[in-house]
């Protein structure tokens, strides 16, 4: 049986399911039907089972984790806590409620002490949830730990869960909620984990069920046949071979160069990007410098960070995007007004323009870092809506010493009038995630409208084509820096529409490199035409696939 979802990346994996259970509701405070002694036995039994389980996991984990898990086991059997539970049971409470209240009182005590003790409060919560889950005979909340590699099935993952994931154990991620830009999807792209998100029917999967997670086709295969398993294993091997292929520059079959660049969120990602064969950076997000900050970082601090990045890409192109605040990533010192509709509010270049000092300082720091290194620095502004904004940013960047200034095309108005926007600036880089959101009027973070969020939609492709045509006429570069470039076939379509560079998560580079090498520029034009002529996203993808299959068949028979 095939469960439909949205595939992240091109991977495929197979293995047994382990489900992540949601948090438990607070046990109701009602009189117990049992006597206090019987409830006490229930509580002690569950406390002891949980302590044993924690000790067992500790012994398995070893190291620092063992100390934490053993300390948690001691908390479960702590005599002071047990006394507290007994006292509460004597008033006629259920074991569930008494355990909940006793743990909560210690939790509040520790949390009130702050600092290190505050962190132990979370450990205590975790133990309490495990004990109550055991009493209720339901799975404990949080990440599963079946003791073998597994396919994690969850509603969606919170950032705290993703930080705890043991990547040696997780074969693939499947979520029932969440769209292509959910935390789970971002983590999966970042760490190159096979994932299918928004597969609502995956809620029916149970622990231990064998599944195939096929991200390329956006499906989870439940109860796979022997033939399906064999095919999946073959594809896993094939991908391993492709990942080991030599790191050549991005190039079409006819020799047309299409530089393959990396999307990075901090300089820490540079070594992995270079290792994956990135020919530079197509999108360097600078938000990390500003997040959690009450005020903007100093020019000196910024310069040090940019210098570190540029040094890692000596002699290569690095496209830095100035601060993109607002909408899903508000910053206290930039967006203080409460907006009814923040995606359409004061964000991107609009927010920077109303706080020009921040923009001037960032451009100054970038120019200084550029002067001190020999990378080829390009700087671009986010959320540019028209030629006037493009001119404003380009002039200001030049004034402050930036040699190559450009704009991101994410707003349909900028794509529709790309000839006038590009005439006012040095280059364009298309952010396909936001361009899709604004073209389709579908919030990119909202799972309920995820069916509108495909960059394959011919309306989105048509806008990309408009920018590509303007770039070709004016001789200006047009890059793609949205996740669309990470889809191997869509990457060919984007090149056919006029993209001159593609930027993506480093983990996608190998698949896209292999895909580009199969087609000539004429092929890319033909595939793009087929996609553009379709009615909707799914039809465009199917049309592109069918034309591409015909073209590779010709190549294969010719050789």
């Amino acid at each position: 049986m095939q469960l439909q979802g949205i595939g992240i990346g091109q991977g495929i994996a197979l293995g047994p399911v382990a489900r992540m259970a949601g948090p438990l509701p607070e046990p109701v405070d009602r009189p117990s039907h049992l006597d206090a002694e019987r409830e006490g036995e229930r509580a002690r039994a569950s406390l002891s089972v949980v302590a044993e389980e924690l000790n067992r996991r500790g012994a398995q984990a070893g190291g620092a984790a063992q100390d934490i898990l053993e300390a948690q086991a001691m908390m479960a059997e702590d005599p002071t806590l047990t006394d507290d539970i007994t006292t509460r049971l004597a008033t006629g409470k259920t074991a569930e409620r008494a355990v909940f209240e006793a743990f909560a009182s210690f939790r509040d005590l520790l949390a009130g002490m702050g600092g290190y003790m505050g962190e132990r409060a979370a450990d205590l919560d975790d133990v309490a949830q495990r004990v109550i889950a055991h009493l209720l005979k339901v799975p404990a909340p949080g990440l599963p730990d079946p003791g073998h590699p597994y396919v994690l099935v969850a509603r969606d993952l919170a950032p705290a869960d993703t930080a705890m994931l043991d990547l040696d154990q997780v074969l693939a991620l499947v979520t029932t909620d969440g769209g292509p830009t959910s935390h789970t999807a971002i983590l999966a792209r970042d760490k190159a984990i096979v994932a299918v998100v928004g597969a609502a029917d995956a809620a029916s999967l149970g622990d231990g069920d064998a599944v195939i997670v096929d991200a390329e086709n956006g499906v989870v295969v439940a109860a796979p046949s022997e033939a399906e398993l064999a095919e999946a294993r073959a594809r896993v091997e094939e991908r391993k071979t492709r990942a080991a292929a030599p790191l050549t520059p991005g190039q079409l079959a006819d020799g047309t160069l299409v530089p393959l660049l990396a999307n990075l969120g901090s300089a820490d990602g540079a070594p992995a990007a270079l290792e994956a064969g990135a020919e530079g950076v197509g999108l360097f997000r600078t938000e990390f410098l500003f997040l959690d900050a009450q005020s903007a970082p100093t020019v000196r601090d910024q310069q040090a960070q940019y210098t570190r990045l540029l040094q890692a890409f000596s002699g290569k192109k690095v496209v830095v995007r100035v601060l993109d605040a607002g909408a899903d990533k508000p910053l206290a010192f930039l967006n203080d007004a409460d907006e009814e509709n923040p995606a359409l509010g004061l964000r991107g270049i609009r927010a920077l323009r109303s706080n020009e000092t921040i923009l001037r300082e960032q451009l100054t720091a970038l120019a200084a870092a550029d002067a001190a290194t020999d990378a080829d620095l390009w700087v671009m502004a986010p959320m540019v809506a028209n030629a006037e904004e493009a001119r404003y940013f380009t002039d200001l960047a030049h004034e402050l010493g930036i040699r190559m200034a450009g704009v991101m095309v994410e707003v349909p108005s900028a794509a529709l009038l790309a000839d006038r926007v590009l005439a006012a600036t040095g280059f364009a880089s298309i952010g396909t995630n936001d361009l899709t959101q604004y073209t389709m009027a579908a919030d990119r973070l909202l799972g309920s409208v995820s069916r509108f969020q495909s960059p394959w939609h011919p309306a989105v492709l048509s806008l990309v084509g408009s920018v590509g045509a303007a770039g070709r006429d004016l001789g200006k570069p047009v890059g793609i820096c949205g996740e669309a470039a990470a889809d191997p076939l869509l990457a060919v379509v984007l090149v056919g529409l006029g993209a001159t560079t593609l930027s993506m998560s480093p983990s996608a580079l190998a698949d896209v490199r292999a895909s580009l090498a199969r087609f000539t520029l004429d092929d890319a034009h033909a595939i793009a035409e087929a996609a553009l002529a379709a009615d909707g996203a799914a039809e465009a993808q199917a049309a592109a696939k069918s034309v591409a299959a015909g073209l590779t068949a010709v190549v294969a028979s010719a050789t």
């Binding site: 100390d67 053993e70 001691m74 702590d78 002071t80 806590l81 520790l110 002490m113 132990r120």
Partner: protein
Amino acid sequence: MPTAERTVRIASSHGLHARPAKLFSQAAGASGAAVTVAKGDGAPVNAASILAVISQGIDHGDEVTVAVDGDNADTVLDQLVELLLTDHDE
């Protein structure tokens, strides 16, 4: 029943939290004796209770009094004091 008691300063650089507290409570529980620990002039708490121990908020350099009531009280006290005088956070 024989009782032994001693006052010492905590050696671990992060105090009697985390790993040192775990080791101390573990040893107190395993000794079979009744062991209490008091911070400064505070009320003694059950040393075998890790929650009671860590909620005392005992830091590096704090004075604590350990009291052991049971067989081999002196030997048990020596072992426990030894734990408190070792810096486990090195």
